[in-house]
Symmetry: C2
Subunit: 250 residues, 2 copies
């Protein structure tokens, strides 16, 4: 593991790939990891198929310090994530006593077979707390298995945070330019980037009120360097005759 922890996200769900559902979990997790200084380097989306989940999970958990999965841990037959994770790790999927107790309390008197499924946890995993609907997620080794419903997934992150090694948080500053296309900003942007090879410089065109605008984003882990680089970029833009650049939150 490098000093800066790395991570991947694995989104599991047919509904994302069919287009019926717009995923929002990746964005929530991306911001969660950014705040912890963990580098999110890749995300994958697969359907609710056992083999595809195992394959993607094995590729990601071998490569990154952490993997966060979302989806497929509910009570219905199409929820196959727990089985796939157990298969990937080569462990059994027994009923977890604490998970059984949690669910038994919630579904007092109505704790049927489908709901018991949600207490099957890969051997050796620890539970991740679900303050919304109780049915827990779990952590096994470097993999965090969370629910797919956004409200539940987000709430589970509170119990993931203290388990992660943190890194230096990346700081970003943005300069917004209106009334000039990316093509006019490219040269000063590249000049600024060459002067600071340790920082990242991105250009993001977008439709804005009154036409096209461009957001130039300077990023890095050293606040002073990022601030200095942003000032240098503004100077270079001015020298290049770019009408108006304004520094905003990235």
């Amino acid at each position: 593991m490098s000093d800066q922890p790395s991570a991947a996200v694995l989104i599991i769900g047919d509904e994302i790939l069919s287009g019926r559902t717009q995923d929002t979990n990746l964005n929530v997790i991306a911001r969660f990891l950014a705040d912890l200084g963990v580098d999110l380097q890749e995300a994958r989306t697969v359907g609710d198929g056992h083999d595809r989940i195992v394959e993607a999970l094995d590729a990601l958990r071998a490569r990154y310090d952490y993997v966060i999965t979302t989806g497929g841990i509910g009570p219905t037959h199409d929820d196959v994530t727990a089985e796939a994770v157990a298969a990937a790790f080569g462990v059994d999927l027994p009923f977890h006593p604490e998970a059984l107790a949690i669910l038994e309390r919630r579904y007092d008197g109505d704790f049927n077979a489908a709901r018991r499924r949600m207490a099957r946890i890969p051997q050796g995993a620890t539970l991740i707390r679900n303050p919304v609907s109780d049915a827990p997620g779990f952590q096994i080794d470097n993999v965090f298995v969370l629910a797919g419903v956004p409200q539940i997934m987000t709430a589970m992150l509170d119990d993931v945070r203290p388990r992660m090694r943190t890194g230096r948080v990346k700081v970003e500053r943005a300069a917004v330019v209106s009334g000039a296309g990316e093509g006019l900003l490219a040269a000063p942007l590249e000049a600024a980037a060459r002067a600071r090879p340790d920082l990242s410089f991105g250009s993001y065109p977008r439709f804005a009120e009154g036409g096209w605008g461009v957001k130039l984003v300077v990023g890095g882990r050293d606040v002073a360097a990022v601030d200095a680089a942003t000032r240098e970029l503004l100077d270079l833009l001015r020298e290049a005759g770019v009408p108006k650049a304004e520094v905003v939150d990235a």
Copy 2:
């Protein structure tokens, strides 16, 4: 290639993995492919790094009939997708005469080096029309390389559509249940699914007005079978004492 064409999406952009931008392109492409009867089987998101793009692209283009990429084809130094695609295919990245002509017309008198970058197209690729801002995407073999800005990406799909082999479109019907958790629906849902192994049956809990609701989705390529299976599912739900299920658009 099977009768039913398959596809993957590769989202390219640091801004998605940093959490600064919520991706919406995957959802648009997923619905586009669903309408064509093309099975979207996987999506990956990587940053604007040459090697990661090459690696993901090679994995996906070998496995699926089609790959659609978004992002990284603008004029600035952080746009490295064209170079990465050329490297993946082992071809040069020359200026494309038609792309040069298109861009020369657009940037009449202001066609600088950065804008010329957008006319570099992998050898052997054909251009994909961009009716929004002119700078073209391109197709090389089974890979379609589109812009990242949602408005441009969406407009480019019009020129992708006629190039794709289509399949049988998947039909989906949904039964929405209010006032009953997934755990109570799991048994009838699984019974319905077992009776129709050729169809897909999914369960999607969600917060709705007045509490939790569940959407049960039946899908397949044979409309009559999907409709029959949906009726069977409703009967099974009624028999199980589920308060009220209503058929809606999936």
